[in-house]
């Protein structure tokens, strides 16, 4: 029996429609789902199916056109980021003028953490993913895999309750992608953090407990 108050995310009949010129784009249609702590969820579907829209709504970046979305265990939408919900994007999501350490510390600084404490925590996050040596490097000096690992460290640094990863391995080769995912799952192993990953990668999807399929904006929840 699921205790609703413990849920990270609860969505009921959520719709999201965009206007593109005169055309209405139904990015998400009647989505109903929940995310509980410690869940490992893969969201799969073809390009343009609505995966990113679903993650954006879950993370509070976007607002639904209709339906209910709530974060019973996390609080109101305005308080989700940076401490409770963290994002990992596909690529190029680091601030190019900041070092790996400064990028990783950003969520903490945005939340008002003191600089020295934020940098210490960020350094520990980088160390956890094996990138402490790259702390002073700029994004242009990192490989694609390293940059994505910094993005992961940034997400982990704030110890969020929910991580939303939108195609985190999309630009990486297979071995690197696997390596990244290993690091992510290892770091979350002992935590209650839920992980929702939008992915094309079948290998990544297989490693998750639950698979949601999105097709033309419609969400199908499939359990393993």
């Amino acid at each position: 029996m699921i205790n609703i108050s413990n849920l990270c995310v609860r969505m009921a009949d959520v719709r999201r429609t965009y206007l593109q010129g005169r055309t209405s784009i139904h990015a998400l249609v009647a989505a109903t789902c929940t995310v509980a702590p410690r869940e490992r969820i893969a969201v799969v579907g073809p390009s343009g199916s609505g995966k990113s829209t679903l993650l954006h709504l879950m993370g509070g970046i976007d607002t639904p056109t209709a339906g209910l979305i709530a974060w019973p265990a996390l609080g109101e939408r305005e308080t989700l980021r940076p401490f409770k919900v963290a994002f990992v994007f596909q690529t190029m999501s680091l601030i190019s003028s900041l070092t790996a350490l400064e990028n990783a510390a950003l969520p903490l600084l945005l939340a008002g953490t003191e600089v020295s404490e934020a940098e210490q925590t960020a350094f520990e996050a980088l160390a956890a993913i094996g990138l402490e040596a790259a702390a002073d490097k700029l994004p242009e000096e990192l490989s694609g895999g390293q940059a994505q690992r910094v993005a992961v460290a940034r997400a982990l640094a704030s110890h969020p309750r929910l991580i939303l990863a939108d195609e985190p391995t999309g630009q990486l080769d297979h071995p690197t992608a696997q390596q990244l995912f290993d690091v992510l799952l290892d770091c979350l192993e002992e935590t209650d953090t839920a992980l929702v990953v939008a992915t094309h990668d079948a290998a990544v999807a297989r490693r998750m407990n639950t698979v949601w399929r999105v097709h033309h904006g419609r969400l199908e929840v499939q359990e393993r």
Partner: protein
């Protein structure tokens, strides 16, 4: 296809089009406005110069001249308006018996004029007392003979019995120098002092008295035609007018085959003004060219910001089969839009600015159209260079593959490697030092020579200083930013809170982009501050020029017979009279040279009249006046007098002054204590300054002819009240500094630069806005992306803006400080290099604090507007931006 291309340009590149067009518009506006101001100033200078020439030509007959032939030649001269005949006769002396004594003068002149002479040349004769018709005696002569209207004067003719006449009036001859000039002497010869003893007779009386002398001694009489030309027919440019008048006079002399010579007063005045006109042109270059360069740089920077898109667009077009010609045609549309849009906007702004700068007239309208046409061409050229040329070069040079690759240039730019900033500054210092040492004259206008020249190399120092200083500021920022993180972070803490360290880090790593913004803002500030400091100093010196001419805010000028000092106490009681000091104006012989002598109270004169250090040589004003106070018999003389008599401080100097007891000149001993260069109301010739108490004691006359008045309110209103107070004193003149400043001889200082200063302030503020706006525009895509990421990470609005406000603060503060320091330095170079503009030269720069405050506040507001605009453009849809990641 062209229509689609145009639609795409307006839809997707509107910002860049507007920015480039604005740059073109600013450049066109500044150049056209400066040009209109310059042309209008030339017209103003010419008009004022010719209006104040008392007699355009004095045509002197030679002994064999046929009057009718000369008259016909003069009348047939193009531009001839009118002439009056003036007869001159030398006399052995004049005498008069008044009060039981007989006064006799030395040799003098008696003139014969027609009753219409005063109307034809009104400024030549000013009535002091009595009637302006009949027998008139000059003021100094009346003082020498102690006569007034009704008294009899005996004229001692040469070789004939004396003749007695009755005085009808006493007059002043303000332009005695012109009236009695030696015509036909070689240029460069020393000017002849006018005679001390002058009588004016009606022509009928003159012929009756002097025709016999003319028969016996024809060498003692002369005839002149005083000629007036139509000034409206002269060219508006002073140099062209000068050349025109010279040619007319030469042509006249040729036509009369040497039987007459032309004293060309009009050409002499225009000769001085043409140098001033050229100085105005020099000012145009010094003050306006940097602004135009700035406008061009801004336009080029705006168009360069779109280089990436240009490369992508061209690559896509070529992949799809477009030829080079087609690509150039498409890019030409952008150049045309930028050019035409900028020109139209610039023309509208120019016409609006014109009304601030100059007084409009039909002539000014014609000049405006000409300048607009010329600068429109320049604007089109700029648009072509900025937009089309890079596109053409790109289209012709690269392959498709190379066009799609974006190559980032790394390493120091060439100017940094070559230390161009240091080289430019060093060269500027060298040229400045050379200018200061050698008494360098920018404009050379030799007397009597039609050609004048400008030493354009004088531009080098301020231009190099401006460019070198800005590059140095950029180097200091780019090299110093990594080392200055901590203080910079502290500075930004108020804006960015605990994000200040990452904001500082971000700024430091974007230092090249930020440096470019600092450089542009510094250029704009340096331009505005240098022109403002120069203009303020210039306008202050224009006032000094007027102060020297008028003496004080208001000056009451009487004569020995009707001294203004009689009303001193009444004047002091008037409201708004801050101080009133009397001054003697006598005449004294230094050897055989009659000079003006001013008797002052050295302890108090500075209460009513400004005493600049520049007026005195060898010491400050207070030191020189203290010396005069310490030595009652002390006298300050001109440098020329000091050299003529080889005087050293403390040397004895005998002067001859007129005594009240017998009205004769007697020797009075003085002690030479120093050299005076300028003095309120004093002429540009040699003059003397001494203690009025000593003069009064020695001459027996304590009369104070002049009163200098300092006003605490409006001088012209005070002058009106003073006129009522002195109305009982005949012939007393009251002048205020405002009227004098407008009417002062048509030198460059009479050109009002206030409108120009306002234009340049507006331009500088727009440049600052453009510079900061450009910095944000250049990083717009990156900023949108970063905003989206930060938003996704949970940043609040204030935190998002911290990056932008911090960047704006660094750009504005860095640029403003560097620009202000540079601007003051450039102003110093300008004042030194253009010292021919100033008379006397300024002692120090005058900082326009109100202007600087306005510039600062305007720049802050302009920067804030740029930030708010950039914030609006950067806050696109977060979701859309995240999709692009």
């Amino acid at each position: 296809m062209i229509n689609r291309w145009l639609r795409g340009l307006f839809t997707n590149r509107a910002g860049r089009l507007a920015g480039a067009a604005a740059g073109v518009a600013l450049t066109v506006t500044l150049l056209a406005s400066m040009g209109i101001f310059l042309a209008s100033s030339s017209v103003t200078m010419t008009q004022r110069a010719v209006a104040e020439v008392p007699v355009d030509w004095q045509v002197q007959f030679n002994s064999n001249a046929d009057e009718a032939t000369v008259r016909d030649a003069v009348v047939s001269t193009p531009g001839y308006k009118s002439l009056q005949t003036v007869e001159y006769a030398n006399v052995a002396g004049l005498s008069a018996r008044t009060g039981g004594t007989v006064q006799t003068t030395g040799p003098g002149k008696v003139l014969g004029i027609s009753p219409r002479y005063g109307a034809a040349f009104p400024s030549m004769i000013r009535l002091l007392t009595g009637s302006d018709q009949g027998i008139l005696v000059a003021q100094q002569t009346a003082a020498n003979l102690h006569v007034k209207e009704g008294d009899k004067v005996t004229i001692m003719r040469i070789g004939l019995l004396p003749v007695q006449v009755t005085v009808d009036g006493v007059v002043e001859l303000p332009y005695a120098d012109f009236l009695f000039q030696a015509i036909g002497v070689p240029s460069g010869a020393a000017p002849q002092a006018p005679p001390d003893n002058v009588l004016l007779l009606p022509q009928g009386a003159w012929y009756r008295i002097f025709d016999p002398q003319a028969q016996q001694r024809p060498d003692t009489v002369q005839k002149q035609f005083h000629v007036r030309l139509f000034h409206r027919r002269l060219p508006t440019d002073p140099t062209a007018a000068y050349t025109n008048v010279i040619h007319l006079a030469n042509n006249l002399e040729a036509r009369v085959a040497g039987s007459a010579l032309v004293g060309n007063n009009l050409a002499a005045r225009l000769a001085a003004v043409r140098a001033d006109a050229l100085y105005a042109r020099v000012l145009f270059l010094f003050l306006g060219l940097p602004g135009a360069i700035l406008g061009i740089l801004l336009t080029l920077s705006v168009t360069a910001s779109g280089r990436r898109h240009l490369l992508q667009e061209q690559a896509l077009l070529r992949v799809r089969g477009a030829s080079t010609g087609q690509i150039i045609r498409y890019e030409s549309t952008e150049a045309l839009i930028v050019g035409v849009g900028g020109i139209l906007l610039g023309a509208a702004l120019t016409l609006a600015a014109r009304n601030i700068l100059v007084q409009t007239s039909a002539l000014v309208n014609r000049l405006s159209l000409w300048w607009l046409a010329a600068t429109a061409t320049a604007g089109l050229l700029l648009a072509t260079s900025a937009v089309l040329f890079p596109a053409w070069r790109q289209a012709r040079r690269n392959t498709v593959t190379a066009s799609r690759a974006l190559v980032r240039i790394s390493g120091n730019p060439l100017w940094k490697k070559l230390y161009l900033d240091v080289l430019l500054l060093g060269f500027a210092v060298f040229v400045y030092w050379r200018t200061a040492q050698s008494g360098y004259q920018v404009v050379l206008a030799p007397e009597g020579v039609p050609q004048i020249s400008v030493h354009y190399e004088a531009f080098i120092a301020p231009l190099c200083f401006w460019l070198g200083g800005v590059l140095l500021a950029r180097r200091i920022w780019e090299n110093g930013a990594p080392r200055a993180r901590r203080p910079l972070s502290g500075l930004l803490r108020g804006i960015a809170g605990n994000l200040s360290t990452v904001v500082t880090a971000s700024l430091e790593r974007q230092r090249l982009l930020v440096g470019r913004g600092i450089a542009l803002v510094a250029l704009a500030f340096a331009f505005a501050v240098s022109t403002a400091v120069f203009n303020t100093t210039y306008n202050a010196q224009a006032r000094v020029d007027a102060e020297l001419t008028n003496g004080s805010d208001v000056t009451v000028t009487g004569s020995t017979g009707a001294p203004a000092g009689l009303q001193l106490e009444e004047i002091r009681k008037l409201a708004n009279v801050e101080a009133a000091q009397p001054m003697m104006h006598r005449f004294a012989y230094v050897g055989s040279d009659l000079q003006d002598m001013y008797g002052i109270d050295p302890a108090h004169i500075a209460e009513a009249a400004r005493m600049s250090n520049a007026y005195f040589a060898g010491g400050s004003a207070s030191e020189s006046l203290s010396l005069l106070a310490r030595y009652p018999d002390g006298v300050l003389v001109s440098e020329e007098t000091r050299q003529d008599f080889q005087l050293n401080p403390g040397d004895h100097l005998d002067l001859r002054l007129q005594f009240a007891s017998d009205h004769r000149y007697h020797t009075v001993p003085f002690r030479f204590i120093g050299v005076v260069r300028e003095f309120p109301t004093a002429p540009s010739d040699s003059f003397l300054v001494a203690n009025s108490a000593y003069i009064a004691r020695q001459t027996g006359s304590d009369v104070r002819e002049v009163i200098l008045v300092r006003s605490s309110g409006d001088p012209s209103a005070l002058a009106a009240r003073l006129r009522k107070v002195v109305s009982t004193l005949p012939g007393v003149k009251v002048t205020d500094i405002g009227s004098v400043q407008k009417a002062v001889s048509s030198s460059l200082t009479s050109v009002d630069l206030h409108g120009l200063t306002r234009l340049e302030l507006v331009f500088a503020v727009l440049m600052v806005m453009g510079a900061t706006g450009l910095v944000f525009a250049l990083g717009l895509n990156e900023r949108r992306r970063n905003f989206a990421i930060l938003d996704a990470l949970g940043a609040r609005q204030r935190q998002l803006e911290a990056f932008m406000w911090s960047e704006a603060l660094v750009v504005l503060l860095g640029g403003a400080i560097a620009g202000t320091l540079l601007g003051v330095g450039i102003a110093r170079i300008l004042v030194t290099g253009l010292k021919g503009v100033f008379d006397p030269p300024p002692e120090h720069l005058i900082l326009p604090w109100a202007y600087l405050a306005t510039l600062t506040v305007s720049s802050v507001l302009a920067t804030a507007a740029a930030v708010l605009g950039a914030r609006r453009m950067s806050r696109g849809s977060v979701v859309e931006e995240l999709r692009r990641l």
